[in-house]
Symmetry: C2
Subunit: 710 residues, 2 copies
């Protein structure tokens, strides 16, 4: 290898990071533009019809327009998700978490998913559902990164023949980390938070170069979005809109020492509501999975929720006839609705705008802008709408709804404190803390969430309060959640429902004494160094594993138990992967092939990489009966020195190998280098710890071979 080749790869990594940042930022700008325009169109037309009808007494008419608009938009989103790409549903964060954790989730980073996601999220937000566009940005960024880094799209059949040295799991995952970070950065204007999100969810160990590139993607993405938005606003290069959601400036905010106690308490409330949210949503998801799996049913449910959302908004405006005189404020969409002439409905500020604007209003409007009753109704209503909406077959982010709910009750608390004028309570500050608490209680992220909120507020000295709030929210949420039967954050809850073997952060202390021989899967399928073709084909068809030990001294027809507990599977020589075997079979690399010498020498890394990541399944490989009797020599192709552990290695030791090195399979051997079993991610995820009667108990889960290959 010469200096130039080496530098080229290094430079190309940066080029990919740059392109990923630019594209992600541009997608965010596109979504933002469409949502803004769509919402404007919708609210303007309703406003117009209200103004026409307020005198003509035809107030049933605006609600029909409202419902019609919502239905059409949401229908597009729902049909795209249900019929084109089910993977695009929800925020995509659970899937990206799995992907970064090292679990392969099928179809999650395809270009079709991206299109469905982008168009779908525009439909869902414009359709007035209780969803945000921020979560889906993370997924979108990840897809962009996966596509760009491979230099081709198999779905649309384009191959630019560039970046082909990035076509491995490891490299692709690294780039996807950068894409996810770019997505977060664009969503919240938080490049550091985005980088931390990727690290928190994925990167197994800190790698300076990789982190630096992830951060680069993130900062480029924020910059690109900023440029686009300044341009759209007509003030190019002013660069004042770094993220999709902007919390506005919190410069003037200060706090007293005793307020920290209140913030902690609010954190606890957020944790409590968050745990409730998760538990109810879990029940709902289970119910949906059991009874509502038809595509048409799913689309109908989405449309139903859209109609209910519109009706609920309309009724709220009607009931809470909270009117105030018309002001000169041009920022607001002022609609008269049921108010007397010269007055506008204050409730419209909440129901009659994009959720992002509502959040900003709750943070920044003057004290007295909202009546307590309006706010209370709104918060409760939105809580249940968001609950119902998350899990529907539409792309939907959960950040904004959580922030809205939290800002709602936070501001209520602030209004309560205004009864004591000496406190000089600013409702906006309490709205911010409430929003942080509620979001923390629902998603249970730690470092990255703190930094995201710090960056979105642009105020470092508030960081301390936000952190205290989030710590309390997480603790309270975990505590209440474990009592109610779901101790995880909402994303992890959905991951667990899908039976994905996600590996935790740390091994639990209780597992300290669990030896490898208890953890491993057993018996295990092995291949001999010189293996018969039909046996390979047969085993590959029967097994879903991706890695197989290669051994000597093993007779598959007559396995020899050697100990009281365990049979062994021959002397360990190496590890071979499913896709390697498939390529060997496809290329007919058997010893009986007259061309064998040439084949063995010319088969390069590129041949194995060529079909990445979509290797043909084994039943697409045609093997004639005569070929079935031939022999494949696995020795030149296998990994001769994979990671192994001894049978007495403890669970934490194995755990750290998987987590720290991103392993997928680990061979367990005895003191004589004989294969005893295999450990996969599924085996690690099998043990969960429960607290019962003050004692910790370990529980072994039975896991289905769900949607995921280990």
């Amino acid at each position: 290898i010469n200096t130039w080749d080496y530098n080229k790869i290094t430079i190309n990594r940066w080029v990919v990071a740059f392109i990923v940042g630019v594209l992600t930022g541009s997608i965010a700008a596109f979504i933002d533009f469409c949502v803004e325009k769509g919402s404007e169109l919708k609210y303007e037309s309703i406003k117009k019809s209200v103004e026409d009808c307020v005198n003509d007494d035809c107030m049933y008419y605006p609600i029909l327009i409202w419902i019609g608009y919502n239905t059409v938009c949401v229908l597009i989103a729902a049909v795209l998700v249900a019929f084109v790409e089910p993977c695009a549903a929800g925020s995509g964060i659970p899937q990206i978490k799995c992907y970064l954790n090292g679990v392969k989730v099928p179809r999650v980073v395809r270009i079709k998913t991206l299109v469905a996601k982008v168009v779908g999220v525009i439909g869902a937000v414009v359709g007035g559902l209780a969803v945000g566009k921020e979560g889906p940005m993370i997924h979108s960024g990840a897809v962009v990164a996966a596509g760009v880094s491979q230099g081709r799209s198999t779905s649309i059949g384009i191959d630019f023949k560039i970046f082909d040295y990035f076509r491995t799991d490891q490299e692709k995952r690294d780039f996807v980390s950068g894409g996810a970070a770019a997505g977060v950065a664009a969503a919240f204007g938080a490049p550091v938070g985005g980088m931390l999100f990727s690290l928190e969810e994925g990167a197994s160990f800190w790698n300076q170069g990789l982190t630096w590139r992830i951060f680069f993607s993130a900062i480029i993405s924020t910059f690109t979005l900023n440029v686009w938005r300044s341009y759209i606003k007509g003030t190019p290069w002013q660069l004042s809109s770094p993220g999709l959601i902007n919390f506005g400036r919190f410069d003037e905010m200060s706090y007293q020492i005793w307020e920290i106690g209140i913030f902690a308490l609010m954190g606890c409330i957020g944790g409590l509501f968050g745990a409730l949210f998760i538990v109810i949503n879990q029940k709902l998801t289970l119910y949906r999975g059991r009874y509502m799996y038809g595509r048409v049913v799913q689309v109908c449910e989405v449309v139903g929720v859209a109609i209910i959302t519109a009706v609920a908004g309309y009724i709220s405006i009607y009931v809470n006839n909270d009117c105030k005189p018309v002001t000169e404020n041009l920022d607001e969409l002022q609609v008269q609705f049921f108010c007397k002439d010269g007055h506008d409905s204050a409730t419209t500020n909440l129901f009659f705008d994009t959720p992002e604007s509502s959040v900003r209003r709750l943070f920044h409007e003057q004290p007295g802008s909202f009546e307590a009753v309006t706010l209370a109704c709104y918060t409760i209503l939105y809580f249940f709408l968001a609950l119902w909406t998350y899990g529907l077959s539409v792309p939907s982010g959960l950040f904004i709804p959580s922030l809205l709910i939290g800002a709602g009750w936070g501001r209520l608390i602030g209004i309560g404190f205004q009864a004591f004028p000496s406190m000089q309570a600013d409702p906006g500050k309490y709205a911010l803390i409430g929003a942080a608490a509620q979001l923390g209680g629902i998603v249970r992220m730690t470092v990255s969430l703190t930094v995201i909120i710090m960056e979105a507020t642009g105020n470092i000295s508030l960081g301390f309060c936000i952190m205290i709030t989030l710590i309390c929210a997480k603790w309270m949420g975990d505590f209440v959640g474990s009592r109610l039967g779901c101790e995880h954050g909402i994303y992890d809850m959905h991951i667990h429902l899908a039976s994905v073997p996600l590996v935790d952060w740390e091994p639990h202390v209780l597992t300290a004494t669990l030896p490898a021989r208890k953890v491993m899967s057993h018996p295990v399928t092995v291949f001999r160094t010189k293996e018969v073709v039909w046996r390979i084909v047969d085993k590959l068809k029967k097994e879903i594993h991706n890695g197989f030990p290669v051994v000597d001294d093993y007779d598959p027809d007559n396995p020899q138990p050697t100990g009281p507990d365990h049979e062994t599977f021959g002397k360990f020589r190496g590890l071979i992967l499913r896709h390697q075997l498939i390529v060997l079979l496809k290329r007919k690399v058997w010893l009986q092939n007259p061309d064998y010498e040439r084949l063995e020498q010319t088969l390069t890394l590129a041949d194995f990489r060529d079909n990445y990541p979509r290797y043909p399944p084994i039943h697409h490989i045609a093997i004639s009966p005569i070929e079935g009797e031939y022999t494949v020599n696995l020795e030149p192709f296998m990994n001769k020195a994979p990671y192994t552990v001894s049978e007495s290695a403890s669970f934490p030791r194995i755990f750290r190998l998987f987590r720290g090195l991103g392993l997928r399979h680990l061979v367990v051997i005895n003191g004589d280098s004989e294969v005893l079993g295999m450990v996969t991610r599924k085996d690690l995820a099998r043990y969960r710890v429960k607290s019962k009667d003050g004692k910790l108990k370990m529980k072994e889960l039975l896991m289905s071979h769900g949607m995921v290959k280990s």
Copy 2:
């Protein structure tokens, strides 16, 4: 283990993190207070003598006061370092980097070091040396964390008998990460940057709980310092001074798209100057190590530099007679010096203040406050002073001098651009970019430095420019540095000079084909499962290693070569550590001991932990000749399933084990589980890659058994 014990340990981890944050923040506040008061006293008295002398024609008198003041302060610092604790010299960042990387550096986290560091840095800064107080804060935070987490100080003989379950290398290192982060957070008001610093330098793989606690320490430390400083300023709870160095507000700053090119160019200049700085400093350090190792010589050099600094400042003020009319600005110390009545010397703004204030001046003073010539002289002078000062026997930070140099030439560039009025160039902005470039060129940190500067400026949209600048600075610095013979940042350069086996971030591509059998150390000292006492004592005395394989079927008197290249050392059974052997010998746990059964059963983890980290050296263990013939059974105490690799495992694979899992020793075995050799950190650090004539070459270094135990 019951729930309560488990929770208690978890809670105590947070308690320690909290205490570490509070103490680190308080130490920072203490240093800051003393430096401020000390400098005030010094400059006020000089100012007074100038005012007295300007008419009496005795201008030699102020310079004598100046020199006297500097000499006394610096003498205290130098004597503390040279005679009390040499470990307190410099910024301490190289030592902390090593510590976090997993290398044991003796005496670096002792309380004596802390005292020398704190008092020393006050002396050095008040003494007018070209040093900052920020770097030493990182070291101080680390010492605080090491002390608090162990619940005792062996140096001053206090043991609170708490936190004794934290007395292991791993736990202690985790807390030290938090302490270092708290130090950075206090120094720059950058909690996120501090956390990233710790992660970048140390934590082997991302652990959510640990990162969350590190961040907690950092944010508590910023908060504490903020409270103290607000209190000292007389405005308690206003909380506007989060860090020791405050860059001031950069709210109004905006930039044009083409300016990014200029920033990149400035980054390159910073990289160039940085590389020069490092190379000259390297030569100087080598010279010092060779000719100036006497303690008295070291103290004299420090005093010499202090005097020269004072004289240089005085001469500069005399030569650059840059006068301006007296203003009403009370923030500034206005001194007449050699100006005519009613005028003040502008040069005093730079030479006659703490370096932190000078940095802020260069960032924020109005255009036209400094003359180009003054600035140029100042920058060049400060460059050489800083160069000479870093490496002296005083505690000294390099961040502030680097920022000052960069801000100097950056502002010069800005002044140059003012010749084109259409550019509306703000010299302060260029000063900031120059400062970032220079600092990046010297320390070559990446993510953490970007975030630290972003937090210190409090402006997210400047983040993009700063990152571009730092990327260019690092690339240019690495490039020019490798041509000049030192491709590392200043800290790594000092680490390499000390021959510390620091493990890099990534294995180089060239090492991909290097097998374990080439990397490992060989032959290796092994012990048999039942080993004779005198052989243990003998080997421990002769060897400096800390881990030894335990084997069967090995005859030390007659080692058996089995292959053409390698002898083997018996069948591998486990690994035993030096300190375990020492405890076993000290407790007389041999089979011939009549009490053996009881001893073996009662020897608990606590007994091994009791002396941590200062186990008695082997020659302090008294073994009688009769005892020497006894046998120790190592089997119950050894680690039965340590990490091992096969002889054909590649270098990158071994590398990732060390880096990802923080290993210190790895046993290399063959296919029959026989020990072939050991890999330690030193073996990993032995291979360096050089680029020569467009080809990359690998170089094997010979490393001395320097200051460090592997």
